[in-house]
Symmetry: C2
Subunit: 297 residues, 2 copies
């Protein structure tokens, strides 16, 4: 690796950068309307593994991207992710009360504030990205990628399919399609945002990164399902066993635990294989694939 | 006027253009997830006066903007407006069941679908704008303007202040600040999006347009309050008398009906005065100021 520091230290440094960047790019809680800004900060700061910003940085390193551009892109994608969690937790959706070990936003504040905080976080993500100080063509490309990944043919669409699936049997293919939209689209966007912070990728590079993100996107969800079925709420920082309780189809409910674990490992190897054309500058992406599969929360 | 057609015919032609453009730029209701796409189309199509797109076109004409660019910018701002109505109508916000003479989205579909449709419409607005085929610098400027107008220092922030104001006495100044964010920010964005479809405005031009939008933004709200107090639900296409029932401060509750009407007329004249430096190419903006004040629904 060019920078020689351990994966753990690198992750830590990205997470620290992100906490500072997000705090700077969110309106202060003392600014009117205070309650809304307080809720936005509550939803975003001091929590989460920052998987999406880590992907931005890991891909950015590979494309020699400037640090400030990666931090800004990472903040934008993390705000989209955070807004989606706020809305997903609301009573009309998953009705969850615990997130990252803390009361969810509508519990800590109220439903109207949660709705508005999510809405405003989505706007803020695009404001932040539109203020990228890089080549305008690449900035516009980033805005296209992030907005499409967030919308009805991406994350929101996956969420809609997920809701419709409660109490239904899904095939493995349908489950993959749903998660590809719900989780995969934003993970893929993170990788491409990172690379666009540096330069436009070539065709082969783009294809390789697409295969990589497809593998880690699915792996991410398979492992989420495994953890939901096996870990306790304290470890997860959110309500465990919720999928089964909600009668939601999962990899574990379709494949069983052992086959789900085998699938996660296969996807981890797929991710490594997809990166074959890159040298050791892609090691952060490789290490993130390992992390996504081998995490315990 | 350059194009010589009457104001009514011009409005009609913009509205027809917008209906076609919005229909084209929204995912088909046959595309997965169907229910979500159906709800998005229901929320946006076949309804509304399209005041914001009319402002885009009126300002665009003044700056010799290409038709296709104005249609796209108008669609983006209208999707932001439509998403905000869907979320505002939800039970945790205004809990309204009627909009544009039809059941609101959460009534027609369900709350989760309304939440997601609103979220996805916001994303779609930025997708559409990021696909503008004009100078990238102006496209980025538009994305900044629209996202800031939509966010916590714009529309969402105004909505938060509005919610917090229920049952409280607001000064006229506080009421103005709230509406400046809740309604004014997006109307101002519409005008500047229109002008950026043509070119960057000069400093004096920008200042004049800002004064114009400030006046029409306030006028819009004053007239809304007058109509809420005086018109019936059938004429409005939404529940009348709702502000008083909800104990919300309004211009009518603070100033009374006569003074509110006088204020609306004063603001109409302010809007005309602000446009003093422009020739007859600004007539559509002048006519829209008249329309906003003199409408009866």
């Amino acid at each position: 690796m060019a920078d020689r520091i351990s994966f753990e230290d690198w992750m830590q440094s990205v997470q620290t950068t992100m906490e500072e960047t997000l705090s700077t790019l969110l309106p202060a809680a003392t600014q009117t309307p205070e309650r809304l800004h307080d809720a936005m900060r509550y939803a975003v700061l001091d929590g989460g593994k920052r998987v999406r910003p880590l992907l931005v940085f890991a891909a950015g390193v590979l494309f020699d991207a400037p640090h400030a551009a990666m931090a800004r892109a990472g903040a934008a994608v993390e705000m989209i992710h955070a807004y989606s969690l706020v809305h997903d937790d609301m009573p009309c959706m998953d009705n969850d009360v615990l997130r990252r070990g803390k009361p969810t936003v509508h519990v800590q504040y109220d439903e109207a504030t949660a709705l508005l905080a999510g809405d405003a976080l989505q706007s803020q993500a695009f404001t932040i990205l539109s203020r990228q100080e890089i080549d305008p063509e690449r900035t516009i490309q980033m805005l296209q990628i992030l907005s499409e990944a967030a919308g009805s043919l991406g994350m929101c669409g996956g969420q809609a399919i997920d809701l419709a699936s409660v109490g239904h049997n899904l095939s493995l293919e349908q489950l993959e399609q749903m998660h590809g939209l719900k989780t995969g689209a934003l993970l893929e966007a993170s990788v491409f945002l990172g690379c666009l912070c540096g330069r436009f990728p070539g065709t082969d590079e783009a294809r390789a990164l697409q295969a990589y993100t497809k593998a880690i996107g699915l792996a991410f969800q398979v492992v989420d399902d495994i953890l939901d079925a096996t870990a306790d709420s304290e470890t997860l920082g959110k309500t465990a066993g919720k999928d089964a309780a909600d009668d939601k189809p999962t990899y574990v409910s379709i494949l069983g635990l052992d086959q789900s674990r085998a699938l996660a490992e296969k996807l981890r190897l797929d991710a490594h294989q997809a990166l074959g054309l890159f040298d050791e500058k892609a090691d952060r992406l490789r290490q993130l694939a390992d992390l996504i599969v081998q995490r315990d929360k």
